[in-house]
């Protein structure tokens, strides 16, 4: 695939740099490292390193998935390199070392309760939920990014959402009327 030109890169930067930095930060835990990772990702894209099979034309979705994939791999490499590893146990669920739901909920405003509840999930649950609902990737795209099977992605989403519902019930039964918080 020919390298995107400056205009295309610029447009992709405008569209994806923030979601990618946020995603990478979720893996590295460090903003500057996340920025470095995303910069490297875009440089790879600029150098035409996005592989597309001969019978497939690069679509926006494909490019998006590729960007997330490379960002993730780079972020994990970065984590390994700097020994700040956030393990990504796959596919089985694993208890999170994050503060318990009660401690979390005491510290958070109700408006951000759902968002903060993600910390109570395991990293891989959190990751697939972010990819699904924050970046609007499909099961298949999440599977491509995380190099998991679609089945595993479905399992992680299923268990993650189930856990979130339970946490919300524990937080405040009256708040569990999810429809009330919808715009």
């Amino acid at each position: 695939m020919p390298a995107p030109d400056v205009l295309e890169i610029s447009a992709l930067l405008d569209r994806f740099e923030r979601p990618l930095v946020r995603y990478a930060q979720g893996i590295t835990g460090d903003l500057e490292s996340a920025r470095d990772v995303v910069q490297e990702t875009f440089i790879k894209l600029a150098h035409g390193e996005m592989n597309v099979s001969a019978d497939a034309s690069p679509t926006a979705r494909h490019t998006e998935a590729w960007l997330f994939t490379v960002t993730r791999n780079r972020a994990l490499d970065h984590q390994r390199k700097f020994s700040r590893i956030i393990p990504m146990p796959l596919p089985e669920d694993r208890p999170s070392s994050a503060p318990g739901p009660a401690a979390v909920l005491e510290q958070r405003e109700s408006a951000t309760a759902l968002f903060r509840l993600l910390d109570a999930l395991s990293p891989n649950q959190r990751e697939v939920i972010r990819l699904k609902f924050q970046n609007d990737l499909s099961y298949r795209e999440i599977a491509q990014v995380t190099q998991l099977s679609v089945t595993n992605v479905g399992f992680l989403l299923h268990t993650g959402l189930k856990k979130l519902r339970e946490l919300l019930r524990q937080q405040a039964p009256e708040d569990f009327d999810l429809s009330r918080s919808l715009p």
């Binding site: 295309e8 610029s10 930067l13 740099e17 946020r22 440089i43 299923h158 519902r165 919808l182």
Partner: protein
């Protein structure tokens, strides 16, 4: 089937792509027969909707400007296709170009002063051609320019109207030296300009006691001249005045460029050693016009002057000379620079005050042409030897022969002198001066690789000025650009402006209509816009006093139109 099945959740989330029709039918049948399962599916959908509504609102930092610039530079380096957006051309511009050719026809009147600028081999050839001209108007004009003072040696040159005056010898060494000296005076980009050499005298209007008055006295002895000779003298004087005006225009253009980068060579100064501003120059041009009007008025009754011999070769040579006065070196600042020269990146910290002088502009084929400095002023600076990087912060002003840049922060990356394999690791080299003995050793890198200019203060904009000679028309392109950040590619000479760039080049203004529009000013003066933008073409048809069309249509009391053979 039960509700605690990932496929059940996938169905609730609309992810039916990987479900078989049988599975979908089974899930729907299960929910229809099991209200609890249906309620659970509804909860999943509601939770998904809430996640979609709230998660995107999480803070998402962007890359910093430098990182963005690096990415875009990588895109450009990897063969990005660029689309040159030609600026709209108007029919009337062709008239202006035609006027340029008209100017070329009249170029005989311009030879003497241009011959004072033997910057290049071409220009010296032109000088030789000029020297080979028969005596007469040209020689007289030249001497008048060269010797405004009565004591000047050229006062002994034969008067132009002297019928027995022998042709000037072809470029005697002494004359060549004199011409070169004068050329160095006027050549704004010469490397070693004499301080104050280009003074008010060299561009002086008649009222300033300059050449016009000085020329009139020795060259036109009234007692020995008949009316025709007087008319001829006046006409030549007028040509000389026009020449002065054109010279002033060139000086003005060059001064504008010099404000960008050739500070030591800033030429035009008045008697108080103050740099001549555009206003000063225009004022003097007006003064010239005023004196010219008087001269023309006094000579209006005189018979027509003899024609100047036109010469195509000389016209071309003179145009080359004119261009050489304002055209910067094409080898500037980049890898095209010959060995021994350096680009902007060779930044030599002169002192701890933040003023940096680099060895600047690469010379052209003329070995005598020395380097011009690139000056960087800043409040603070930092150097990284290993990274070949210099960072200038605070009120940064870059003055380079090719452009001027104002910004809050400039990061310059010099080329790696040596590369070891793929890694391209560069051995540490002396990028930081040693101020111990008060003298700094200029870092010797491979020149500037790239630089990034950004603004850090709210409301600030990076400002860039670039003056170039249009290779097609030979006319000066004066470009002024504003943007949020700019990338300079030392290899190509391109200045790439990002962040709502707004560039005005002569009468054309290109304004970005989207934040991601990129406007590039190429080394050759071409403007390339990528992304949504709007172009304004300003009607500059109103002739200016220094417009070339002025020559073709002289106004009463203004510069006479030189007469060509056959017109008498």
């Amino acid at each position: 089937m039960n509700a605690d099945d990932p496929k059940f959740t996938a169905h609730a989330l609309g992810e039916d792509e990987d479900l078989t029709p049988a599975e979908r039918a089974g899930i729907e049948a299960f929910m229809a027969s099991n209200p609890a399962a249906a309620a659970e599916a509804a909860e999943t959908k509601e939770l998904a909707a809430r996640l979609r509504a709230e998660l995107p609102g999480e803070a998402a930092p962007a890359l910093d400007e430098k990182q963005r610039a690096t990415v875009l530079h990588a895109a450009q380096e990897s063969g990005a296709k660029t689309k040159i957006v030609p600026l709209p051309r108007r029919t009337k511009w062709f008239a202006a170009i035609a006027a340029c050719f008209t100017l070329a026809v009249l170029v005989g009147a311009f030879f003497p002063p241009f011959s004072k600028v033997p910057k290049t081999r071409k220009s010296r050839e032109a000088v030789s051609q000029l020297a080979a001209l028969p005596p007469g108007p040209a020689g007289e004009t030249r001497s008048a320019v060269k010797s405004p003072a009565p004591s000047a040696p050229v006062a002994s040159e034969p008067a132009p109207s002297d019928p027995v005056a022998a042709p000037e010898p072809a470029a005697t060494p002494a004359e060549t030296k004199t011409e070169r000296s004068a050329g160095e005076t006027l050549a704004l980009n010469e490397a070693n300009p004499a301080p104050g050499a280009v003074t008010a005298a060299s561009v002086s209007p008649p009222a300033a006691g300059g050449h016009v008055e000085g020329a009139q006295s020795p060259a036109v002895p009234q007692t020995d001249k008949n009316a025709a000779e007087e008319r001829e003298s006046l006409e030549r004087l007028a040509k000389l005045a026009h020449l002065e005006k054109k010279t002033a225009t060139l000086l003005q253009s060059s001064a504008s460029r010099l404000q960008l980068g050739v500070e030591p060579a800033l030429p035009a100064k008045d008697a108080n050693s103050k740099p001549l501003t555009e206003k000063d120059l225009l004022k003097r041009i007006a003064t010239i016009d005023s004196g010219l009007a008087s001269a023309a008025a006094s000579g209006s009754a005189a018979p027509a002057a003899p024609a100047l011999p036109p010469s195509k070769a000389l016209e071309s040579a003179a145009l080359d000379l004119a261009r050489s006065m304002v055209e910067p070196s094409k080898d500037m600042l980049g890898k095209a620079a010959p060995a021994g020269s350096a680009g902007l990146g060779e930044i030599a910290p002169e002192a701890a005050n933040g003023t940096m002088i680099g060895s600047g502009v690469a010379s052209d084929s003329d070995a005598e042409k020395a380097k011009q400095p690139t000056v960087i002023d800043a409040l603070d600076s930092k150097f990284d030897q290993e990274a070949n990087q210099a960072v200038f912060v605070g009120e940064v002003v870059v003055k380079d022969p090719e452009f001027n840049v104002w910004c809050d922060k400039l990061t310059a990356f010099t080329k790696h002198e040596e590369k070891n394999g793929k890694g391209g690791k560069t051995p540490a080299k002396a990028a930081t001066p040693k101020p111990a003995n008060g003298k700094s050793e200029p870092p010797r890198g491979g020149g500037l690789d790239h630089a990034i200019a950004v603004v850090t203060e709210e409301g600030h904009r990076v400002k860039i000025i670039q003056d170039k000679i249009d290779p097609d028309t030979g006319k000066l392109k004066h470009g002024v650009g504003f943007c949020n950040w700019a990338y300079y590619d030392g290899n190509t000479g391109d200045i790439i402006m990002h962040g709502s760039p707004d560039v005005t080049q002569n009468s054309d203004r290109c304004v970005a209509t989207a934040p991601n529009t990129v406007i590039t000013l190429n080394r050759d003066g071409h403007m390339i816009a990528k992304g949504p933008h709007r172009t304004f073409v300003i009607d500059d048809s109103t002739p200016k006093t220094d417009d070339v069309t002025h020559l073709a249509t002289p106004q009463p009391g203004s510069i006479p139109n030189p007469v060509t053979p056959g017109q008498q």
